[in-house]
Every structure is written in structure tokens, then in C-alpha cells.
Amino acid sequence: MADERVVGIDLGTTNSLVAYMGTGPSLAHPGEPGKGVHIIPGEDGSNLVPSVVALQPDGQMLVGNAARGVLLTAPSRAVYSVKRLMGRGVDDVREELKIFPFHLAEDLMAGEVMRIKLGERTYTPPEISAQILRQLKRNAERYFGAPVKQAVITVPAYFNDAQRQATKDAGRIAGLEVLRLVNEPTAASLAYGLDKKQNGTIAVYDFGGGTFDISILRLKDGIFEVIATNGDTHLGGDDIDNLLVAVAAEDIAGDLKIDIRQSPEAVQRLRNAVIEAKIALSSVEQAHIEVDLPGGKLYQRTITREMFEQMVLPIVKRTLMPCKQALRDAELTPAEVDEVVLVGGSTRIPLVRRKVEELFGRKPHTELNPDEVVALGAAVQASILSGGTEETKDMLLLDVTPLSLGIEALGGVTAKIIHRNSTIPASATEHFTTGVEGQTSVAIHVLQGEREMAKDCRSLARFDLKGIPPMPAGLPRIEVRFLIDANGILHVSAREQRSNKQAEIDVQPSYGLTDEQVENMILDSFDNAEQDLNARQLIESRNEADTILTALQKGRKSEAWARLSFGEQRRIEDLENKLRIAVSGDDHNPIRRAIDELNEGTMKLAEMMMDAAVGSALRGKNMENTGVEDGPEAPHPIGKAEFQ
């Protein structure tokens, strides 16, 4: 059990991160000794993995920075901000499609889960998210040198059932057991709570790349109890970028008479330029935009912070309504909130900070990196779930369901059965009966949302209660139990009480994948993942073998070689042959073993060569690491650096 590491993942709209909370100081964050909770960097050393996925013509999937490059060169092969599409139907995203360069599959059937075109293939949003998750999983596995199978993944607090289910599906497809979905603002409060052990009311304002959440929590002796939450799952930095792109595109059309929309590559360049300007304007008063346009023209503009703030004010204002609603639901005035915490990259914008400060009448906390705090909190929750450390053992998160759960009643009205902001897990029991003599099934329409009419709420699923024993109308008494679990996901069970028969439930999720579909995707990707991993390890071990074999070639010509006994030379040659044979196979394990053996066997040779070169005794050297030790000054002829 001890080596079952549970990681925390922030699967963001713009960037994704993986974090871990260790028990001992050995894994402590450099600079924060003993704290133990830290982000796991990727291969390139960066903490952030851009949530971009690209499909290469040779079928290889790229994730992160590598995929971001493809966005500029071949936009139709890359996709970003896919989180916006999770758990949504084609009709929901019509508006989105006008602004985002999502290319939907052409052969989509009504009622089918949406698929996105990437090059010549199509993928559902959970499959694309799974690619990002798999990259994070790999990063963690490389970091630990051990497999990672369990994770806590964060979701926007205001995500509905379908969006949560889609996220969980993505985890399964990526080969991760999702122990818990945690709401992003709540996760952030855990990360902050580690620092300040205190009681009081805090508000977490989480304005990210694609979503906005506000959560109000009461902290009491390690219990983090969410009192109210609100938000908008389609409001974030993306909207600011889109606005700036639209303004610039109009500008370009007016001044230079060029319709930039005709060139996806140019739009992408423009998007990058306005994002850079947006980021710059958080620290400087004005920024310059310069973009190459099709036809060799150049678009140039200077934008001041004042202009920027004027443009984005309406977007920032849209975050204030949910804040006020959450305060009303919590029955609190802004002054009763003790602390305000800012989370999400968009809270770096000075205007956002000012507006939050105005609303709550106090300076918000920004001590923790707003890009990393959610992932850190997810790692804290992961630690709690795996039994807790000294630091987390008294911490407990009590979260709420963000949206009311209802069923469609007579006249197309929503009858609410679990109200929003109810602590989860939460349940409700409803009774149904038949309207016609001998009726053996009853249809139930489950909804999520606050509106009075069913058609204005989100349709979660339609259930058919089947197998009801034929009885006169109104006589059967079917008890249906709705249970929202700690992930915010709904489960339904039913029983006909007169016959005490478990009624069958036929679930038709309105926007989700069926279990079978997810199962197939897991198999698909699992095969690929195994192959991917093997292929990568094979390549890495072959490269390493190449390095050591080439080094040995040089070593043979050295004086040191001549000083070895015949027996020693023969032994090294045997090991060398063994490695050459291993390299010709396609399993990395024998290659690794042979490398280790050859390294071991050439230890003496390496030391002698080293001694000869520097005239001083260096212990513990072997063929592989001689030369890399002292950088450019390393005098040894056998250097790994040469071959890189």
C-alpha cells in the first residue's frame, strides 16, 4: 500500500499540472523544506503542461508545449481548451464553435457524444483530456520511477453531473483510478489552509482560463465546509482572448482590408500576440502587438492598460453576479467574509483584483501561485484519501452540490428534490406510480439546474423504470432513490414497494458516454500506452547503449586499455558483445541489464583513463558518467556530452 502513490491533478482549460504530497522531507519542495507538497515538473522542467493535444501525420500524439507548436503550423491537427466541450452536447456549444477553432466530426448523429476532428481522426472530448492526463501520469511515473494508478482530479465547482462524469471517464481512459473529483476552489482552500491553521469564513474567487467559480467556506478545526458555491463554466481568460482577437480582427479588416479569419494560422498568431499583450499588461502600462499577416503585411498596435481594462470590464463584471448570489445563499454580507483568496491565472489582471477588493472590502490573498494552488490542493486531498500525514490527518473537506437536482413533473415543471448547496453525499427519495391499468414502466426525466421549467434546465438522463408488476393504475408504489456521491455524481436506484421488486433502470445519459464506450476507449488507449511506454523506453535504452559503446571504442585506443590484463580485456569484450546482441532485440529490459553490466565491468578502465588524464584519483566513476562530472573542463576523452 505504501508505494501506491495518489497524485493530485489540476486538469485545466489552459494548463494542467500534477502534484504530490509526500510524507517525508526527502520529497519536500526545494525552498520549502519539510512541507512536502509540490508540483511534479515535466520532462522540460516546466510545472505547467499546456492543455493542448496534437495528432502528428504519423499517428503520434503530442501533448503540451510540443502540441502548442503544432497549433501555429497546422491548426487543424491540434486542439486547445477542450475542457469547454466536456460533457456537453452539440447544441450547447454552437456559440462556442463560432469563436473557437473546434472542428467537429462531420458524421455526428443526433444524440451521439460529440467528436472532434484532429487531422484524419476523430476523438471525444474525454479522449482528448485523457491524452493530457496520460502525459501528467507519465511525468509523475518518471519522477517516482514507479507506476502511478490513482489520482484526485479537480473540476470547476460549478461543473454539472455530465461534465463531472466526462472528467471521470477521461481519467479511466488514461488508466487512472479517479479516487475523487474535487472542486477547484475547494482544493485551493486546502492548499491555503495548510499554511494558516485558523478558523473563519473564506471566499475563494477562482477565475481561470475557461471557467469561473466562487466558493464560500467555513473553516473550523480542520474541517473545510463549503457553505455556498456559484459560477459560470464558460467564463474565463479564453473569453478575454477571444474578445481581443475579435477587436484586432476588425481593426485589421478596417485598416488593412484583410480578412484574417480566412487564415487559421494567422488567427493563431494573432491569438498568441494578444495573449502576450494581455499578460504583459498585468505588470506594465502598455504593450505592443505585432503580427505578420497573409500577403506580407504587418499588423502593429499599441494597447494601454486603460484601453485593455475598458474592453474587458464587461467580462470581469460577469464574475460579480455569481459572487453576490453565493453570498446570498450563504446568508452572509461581504463584510462577514474573513479572507478572500484568488485562484486562477486570470486573477493576475489588476482590474480583476480591484473589482474583488471592491466587492469584499478587503485585500485578497495572492501568496500562492494562482496557477499552481489548485494542483497543490488536489495533492493535499490525495494525501487525505491515502490516510493522511501528520499535517493532513485532521483535515476534512465537506463540499456541496452546485446545482439543484430535479425531476420533470406534470406540465414540464421542475420539481426540485435536492437543492443546490446541499452538502454531499446527499440523497432524496421520491415515489412514483402508474397512470394506466397494467402499466409496467414509468419514464422519469432527471434534471439539473435552478430554472422552473424542465426545458430550461440541463437534462441529465431519462430513466425507464421497467418490470413493474401489472396492477391497477395508481397502485404500484415505486420508490426511487437519488444519491449524489462525494464527487458530485448522481446515482439512481429504484424499487417497487408492493412487490419489493428491484425495478430495472434503463439509463440514457443525455450527453455522456456509456460504460461500454468508455471501456472500449480504455482498451484502445491502454494498448497504445503500453506500446508508447515500451517504445520510449526502448529508444532511451538504445541511445544509452550507443553512448557507452562509442565511448568504449575510444577507450580501446587509450593507453589505459593496454594496461589491462588479457582476462580483463576479454571480459569487457564479452560484455560488449552481450550489449550489442541485446540492442538488436526490441525489449528494453535486457538492454538495460547489459548496460549496467558493461558499466560495472568497465569501471576500472574508466578510472584508469580518468587518472591518466587528470593525474588524480577519482573514485566511483564508470564508463557512463566519466566526463559529465565537471562540465566543459572535464578532461576525459570518454564523454557522454559529446554524443548528445
Binding site: M1, L179, R180, K220, D221, I223, Q381, I384, L385, S386, G387, L396, L397, L398, A409, L410, G411, G412, V413, T414, A415, S422, T423, I424, P425, A426, S427, A428, E452, M453, L483, I484, D485, A486, Q497, R498, N500
Partner: protein
Amino acid sequence: MSETGTQLKVLQTRPNQHKCWSCGDMRAEHFCGECGHVQPALPTDFFSFFGLPRRLELDEAKLEDAFYTLSRKLHPDMYSQASQREQLWSLEKTSQLNDAYRTLRDEIARTEYLLSLEGIQMEEQSKVATEQARALGVEKKQTVPPEFLEEAFELNMLLEEARMGEVDDDVREQLDATENSLTARLKGLRDELHKVWQRWDAGDVSATGAMVDVLNRRSYLRNLLRDVQEVLG
């Protein structure tokens, strides 16, 4: 049905006489006092869940403490590495705990819940009925408490007027005054409710009728207040 009934009875007559499935200790109800394992969730009423008598006056601070203490022991977070069976029980127990706490900590929900245990359903049906009537655009058959009849008529005229045209200073002043008076009367009803609670808690079974009356009047005033606040923005 029969199975459920039996379990419920057992729970009510011998609330603390459950044998722990894991170690056999007899004091186990939510979790075992000996070995700490979570116990299967049995059908229970919310008062029994907290080991409380069916009384309406209750110490809300104590209830909160009990909620936190039980949460720490029952919550699914504590069972994430446990057997599937225990995970399920923890989930069911915690949902019972949350449902019970949510209902009991709120004065109105608590009163309505007690009435429902006494076989008097009011909240849900009347609410769905209100929503249905609104959705279908028909007048809901609502029994206006007689003492409000005249006042309600005038207020509705005023609201209608305000919705049609502009809310001028004069109308706003009248609505503000109404808002204040409604708020004050709701507070009065709360005191009245507390008095009826005392009757019930002292063993007066007929207090349920008075409760229904207070709740109905309250719900009527709340609807008026909501309408006023909607117009005032």
C-alpha cells in the same frame, strides 16, 4: 416493504443495540465503538440518526458538533482505501448524516419534517403545486389567511401596477414599507412557532395543527415578500 418495516422498528426500540459486523461489539450504531469500523446504513429517521428525541427545541451548537464529529468518522474520505462494502456504507451513512443535519438545523425544515413523520405532508406538495400553477399560468388554489385578505388584495394591485410601469418614488416608498412590515410579521410568526414547539415538546399532540397553521401563514407571507423584493430589485 415488510423487511424495511422490521428494520425500522428494531432501530427505534433499541437504538444502541447493534452488533458490529467486524468485531461483534454491541454498541455499534454508525460506527463501532470498539474497532471504529463503519456500520451498514439502516433506514432511520433523522432524529434517531443523531440519537435525539422527536422534539423541536434543540441545541443547534450541539447538533453542529455532532455533525462534525460524525463526519470525521463516517465520511467517504476516510474509506477511500477500504473494502467496497465499507465504501458503500460510508457513502450511505454520510448521505443520511448530511440529509439529517440539513433538515434538523433549519427551523422550518425541522418542523415540516416532524409533521411528515406524523403523517402530515405539506412542503413539497404545495411547492410543486405552486410551481406547476405558475408554469401552466393558472391561479393556484391558495387559501389566503383571512386576516390578510384585504391587505393582500391591495398589495397585489400595487405590485401589478409596479410591474406594468415604472417604480416611482411613491410606489417604492409604499413597497419599502410593506417589505419592512412583512419582515417584522415573519419574525413574529417565528416566535409563534417556537411557542407551538414548546406545546409539542411538552407532549401536546394537537400542536401539529397549530404548526401547520403557522407554516401556511408564513409561506404566504414569504411569497408576498419575495414578490415585493422582486419588484424592488
